[in-house]
């Protein structure tokens, strides 16, 4: 039995320590905002934060996540008011939406360490895939979120 802290809450999960964090979050804990896209760290649909840093939860074992602060899209903000979420809504970014939890988590982590990312920063740091090609809107939304964060 391992204890995981997800979005500020402790969960006892009774699965093998090598279980990918993705499946513990989705199937055991029941938070389904984090998505399964590839299972091989290729797409980023499963991105969550470990102590504020983005990780691909499909290749992160729960034993690596125990004792650390795990944040999923559901816990990114109390009321969906994270600047990235506001910017995403303003820009109507999602198409099918399936990749967007991961995109937003990756963007939020980037903004936390670099409040004014350039296009080049975004391209380097956010390698999440989007089948629907919302990349231009994502980039605009990240710049907009940076602006929102800069406001007092």
């Amino acid at each position: 039995m391992l204890s995981l802290r997800v979005n500020g809450k402790a969960y006892n999960v009774d699965v093998e320590p090598e279980t990918p964090l993705l499946w513990a979050i989705r199937d055991t804990i029941g938070l389904t905002g984090t998505k399964f896209g590839c299972g091989m760290a290729l797409c980023g649909a499963c991105t969550v934060h470990l102590d504020g840093k983005p990780v691909r939860s499909c290749v992160t074992r729960i034993s690596q996540a125990a004792g650390r602060e795990i944040t999923t899209i559901e816990g990114l903000s109390a009321d969906a008011q994270h600047p990235a979420q506001i910017a995403w809504r303003e820009g109507d970014v999602p198409e099918c939406g399936y990749c967007q939890s991961g995109q937003i988590m990756a963007a939020a982590a980037l903004l936390a360490k670099n409040p004014h990312p350039t296009d080049a920063d975004i391209h380097r740091e956010i390698t999440n895939l989007c089948r629907c090609g919302t990349y231009l809107r994502i980039r605009q939304a990240i710049h907009r979120a940076a602006e929102l964060m800069a406001k007092p």
Binding site: D27, M40, G97
Partner: protein, 712 residues
């Protein structure tokens, strides 16, 4: 799209539903005011409960009105990112004259649809048809409700209906200045029967419909609350991981179930097979991970059947050979093209090839079932793949063996890539004789398509019949071939392969004639008195040329390519004309960078939601470009080689060009749709631009197979 495959996914599930006595889910979406909605409305853990409250009144099957004037509109089509929920709601609201900021949407009840004699008309979401087919009856539903509300107000005040006006859900009696809100008269309206159905608006009377509106479902997609099929959970649910025969049409020979059963959490190991299901094995467990790892650990022996040595290389070889046989079916014959070609002084000939392509839906397949009931969830983008029901059939075959326990079947990415219904590969030969003026005097086209399973005759020459360009002597014929590889509709169905062939060939002709590809196309259209859409095409072509800055001087290694087409089919009259200009550079090492894509899109007299339309174009550009650059499904030893995003790559953020969408009113008829109307011209525009940039003609895809390096 699904017509040839029989029942639709929904029909199927609902049929089963009647047997299982299940329940259909509806999802509700918040009000349009995104900020407020994000705070106020959530899909709860019980998302099947409509957001409409107890005191909401139903005014006809399509909508409910609350005492506070909130209008809940029901939508029969599935949201896959195309904005259909918003578009359908807008079509009702256009007539209802309610306050759009108070509109929310939910899915119709599938059960009720069948109970009440198909009250919601059609529940499939295919072929870009939701707007085209839904508009009349959705407008009618809104108009009907409006007139009943007006009649209720007229009764309340004892005045004639003609003295009343309405705006934003507030009914006004002009003479006395009295007002009533929809929420106040809804109950009365619900009981009113209209003597006759009101007339609906014509496109020139639209107000709401033409405006871009934010999408109702966006807030749910930024906080993880949108529920996709893969997210559905029901009490006591088991999870299944599946492996179907890697060689299509193969069989399970043997497997060691004990290996799986000895692993943690495993409930059972079951085999599945049946009509139109690839035979295979499933491991069922208490979590997907348990099921998946147990399945991976379990050795399975396959009987490969007769196709264990088939390869796409062989398919191509035999298709090329078939090009020399007279076409099995002739679609167009005009004049005597063979004779003209024989005597011509300048003949241009080219053979084109395109591979099988997968859809790569973002959400891997999954079917949650509870004695089989139907969940209408968000669907990760479908791109033509969602019309087949093989995943549902497979899940049913598995569920039947579990004694009534609910089970969610999840396909891995590898399984999803390797068991698709692929866009058929095709090979074609084009020949044209150019006259002294450089214009084609004769033209022949022969296509060999691996389309026999699907899409079949109608699609294999789609976009090639009725040549829009003027050519006095023509022959278009084709062969259908069958392989063991399943084929199905890809976004734009049978067309995207042919558009690549045709628009590349026209480009080759223009260059052979020493003419500008844009002006050459224009001249061929102007000359074609038989083509009713020639003027409309010229309008769209002109728009894309102008907006893209066609004709500008570009440095070496940089080029522009143009392509145009519409969505002609043999069996339909509606079209959407679309033209694309690609501007790109090719480095000396041969790397292609598409800088910009201009897309001129015919809107007809109106678009239901310009914002959604623009996004649909962006999606098609991303999908089309990924296919041009790198994607192919190849067959070796009877099975698909590609598996995950490393071998079947999507377009990356760094590769997306600057996309400029230009809406053009090319005709006065409503368009066929917009969901798949741009994708076909991405490939030819890009390949024509490559020729302009560095002189290499691309006749087969994807580009990764070509060496594009050059030196000055």
């Amino acid at each position: 799209m699904k017509a040839t495959r029989g029942i639709s996914r929904r029909d199927f599930v609902v049929t089963t539903l009647a047997v299982g006595g299940g329940l259909a889910l509806g999802f509700s979406f918040p009000k349009n005011d995104a900020e407020r909605a994000a705070l106020a409305v959530r899909l709860s853990g019980r998302p099947w409960e409509s957001l409409a409250g107890k005191s909401d009144v139903e005014v006809g099957p399509w909508l409910m009105i609350a005492p506070d004037d909130t209008v809940t509109i029901r939508v029969g089509q599935s949201e896959m990112g195309q904005g259909v929920i918003t578009s359908c709601a807008k079509m009702v609201a256009e007539e209802l004259e309610c306050d759009w900021s108070k509109v929310r949407a939910e899915y119709v009840s599938v059960n009720r649809h069948f109970r009440e004699n198909k009250v919601y008309k059609r529940l499939v979401t295919t072929s870009s048809s939701s707007v085209r087919l839904g508009r009349p009856y959705l407008q009618q539903a809104g108009a009907s409700a409006r007139e009943r509300l007006m009649a209720a107000a007229a009764q309340t005040w004892s005045v004639p209906r003609s003295e009343l006006t309405v705006k934003d859900g507030v009914i006004t009696h002009k003479l006395t200045g009295r007002t009533l809100r929809y929420g106040q008269v809804a109950e009365k309206a619900a009981a009113i029967k209209l003597p006759a159905e009101p007339k609906i608006k014509t496109p020139d009377q639209y107000t709401l419909l033409k405006k871009p509106t934010k999408l109702l479902d966006t807030p749910l997609k930024v906080d993880g609350s949108a529920t996709y099929g893969i997210d559905v959970r029901v009490p006591g649910m088991l999870y299944a991981a599946v492996k179907a025969s890697p060689v299509f049409k193969g069989k399970v020979k043997s497997y060691n179930a004990d290996v799986a059963k000895n692993r943690p959490g495993v409930h059972s190991v079951v085999e599945f097979s049946g009509e139109e299901i690839e035979t295979g094995v499933a491991v069922v467990a208490d979590s997907y991970w348990h099921a998946r790892t147990a399945l991976d650990a379990m050795p399975i022996d396959w009987d490969e059947g007769t196709h264990g040595n088939d390869s796409s290389e062989e398919f191509f070889k035999s298709s090329r050979a078939t090009l020399d046989e007279p076409g099995a079916k002739v679609v167009t014959r005009k004049g005597d093209p063979e004779a003209v070609l024989k005597n011509a002084s300048q003949v241009v000939e080219a053979i084109y090839e395109v591979p099988y392509l997968d859809h790569t839906v973002m959400e891997p397949f999954n079917v949650p079932l509870e004695k089989i009931y139907f969940h209408n969830c968000f669907l990760g983008g479908g791109f033509g793949r969602r019309g087949n029901q093989d995943d549902v059939r497979q899940a049913v075959a598995i569920a039947k063996q579990l004694g009534g326990r609910p089970v969610k079947v999840i396909w891995s990415r590898e399984e999803t890539t390797r068991h698709g219904y692929y866009r058929p590969m095709r090979v074609s030969r084009f020949r044209a004789a150019l006259g002294p003026d450089g214009m084609p005097a004769a033209w022949t086209t022969r296509v060999v398509g691996m389309d026999e399973n699907y899409p079949g005759d109608e699609q294999v020459l789609r976009g090639l019949h009725k040549l829009p360009y003027f050519v006095p002597n023509q022959l278009f014929d084709y062969h259908l071939r069958k392989t063991h590889v399943p084929t199905g509709p890809w976004t734009s169905v049978g067309r995207s392969q042919n558009e690549f062939f045709l628009e590349t060939f026209v480009d080759e002709l223009a260059h052979a004639a020493g003419q500008d590809p844009y002006h050459y196309r224009r001249a061929l259209l102007e000359a074609n008195a038989e083509f009713p859409f020639a003027k409309a095409w010229i309008r769209v072509l002109g728009a894309v040329a102008e907006k893209s800055g066609w004709g500008q001087k570009l440095p070496a290694g940089t080029g522009m390519g143009i392509a145009i087409g519409d969505s002609r089919r043999l069996s339909r009259t509606e079209i959407t004309i679309c033209a694309v200009v690609a501007t790109l550079s090719v480095s000396k090492k041969g790397e292609v960078r598409v800088e910009r894509l201009d897309v001129a899109m015919d809107t007809g007299p109106f678009l239901v939601n310009p914002l959604a339309a623009e996004r649909q174009v962006e999606m098609q550009v991303a999908m089309g470009l990924a296919a041009v650059l790198r994607q192919e499904i190849t067959i070796e030893k009877g099975r698909v080689v590609q598996a995950n995003f490393d071998t079947y790559p999507l377009l990356r953020a760094t590769e997306i060009p600057d996309i400029k969408v230009h809406f053009v009113r090319a005709t006065d008829d409503p368009i066929a749709g917009i969901g798949e109307e741009a994708i076909g011209w991405v490939a030819p525009a890009v390949c024509n631009a490559i020729f302009a940039a560095m002189g290499k003609r691309i006749r087969s895809l994807p580009l990764k197979r070509h060496d594009l390096s050059w030196h000055s």
